[in-house]
Subunit: 153 residues, 2 copies
């Protein structure tokens, strides 16, 4: 089972995230956070790469499942947000549901590579799939998620 | 929707966790970890209470969904482990699958209260449900999980 990389050149994702600048996943102002940044590809795939800190382990040599969930939540959230017509706000959508399947250990020694792709939009719900991949794009952890677009008056 | 507390007196869970003493969720030797501890009740329910650090937020006032996933993974894992005939090892079972439904924000200001209960055992698979609850046992985040008992030769 694999999750293919994006096609074309990677482009840094540049959404205004000032409203979440202390977010554990992506906040620039959070000294204890993961400081995730994201690239998107021509075909819509979003990717992040992160070298996990030793204190984010489960067993000593693997990334904790909750930290994997954090990274997948973040990269899938960006894929959802980029699908919205108005990307002006960083509060555009929230996680409603996330399903994780831990297939193989994610080694702490390697960069965590996480990918996400919008599946479909149904009203205010956005469906996004994601994965943490190993060498050869093999899926280590698979994810599905549903997001709700916030309709701001 | 609610997730009821356990009945009877809470008893501290005392599993040998020396093999995971650097675990981000429960490791005593992890200075950057959550240091979760667990209680079980007479009816089998397992509970943990945790005051989240400010740097574990998503939006400024709520606990990040990935940190919620970490806490639910941990408390459900203890519920699975306590169901095994031999609880001697802290490597007894691993998360295979986790499904999270984020119903309401989990406030950073309050203690996070997470509960878990074994649903059923099917061969080497254990099914556990969990929740983060607010006042009046209202479910803020619901979880289902599947665990695989490791058969050590």
């Amino acid at each position: 089972m694999s999750f293919a990389p994006g096609t074309g050149e990677p482009i840094p994702v540049d959404i205004d995230r000032s409203g979440v600048d202390r977010c554990f996943g992506c906040g620039a102002a959070n000294e204890g956070g993961l400081h995730l940044s994201f690239h998107r590809f021509e075909d819509g795939l979003v990717e992040t790469r992160h070298h996990a800190a030793p204190h984010h382990c489960g067993l000593d040599t693997v990334v904790h499942g909750g930290i994997q969930a954090t990274i997948l939540d973040e990269v899938m959230g960006v894929a959802a947000q980029l699908a919205l017509p108005d990307q002006a706000t960083d509060l555009a959508c929230i996680t409603v549901e996330m399903h994780l399947r831990y297939r193989r250990p994610v080694p702490l020694a390697d960069d965590v590579v996480a990918r996400a792709r919008l599946d479909r939009v149904d009203g205010n719900d956005l469906y996004v799939t994601g994965a943490i991949v190993g060498p050869d794009d093999e899926v280590l952890t698979a994810a599905d998620s549903r997001w709700r677009q916030l309709v701001l008056d």
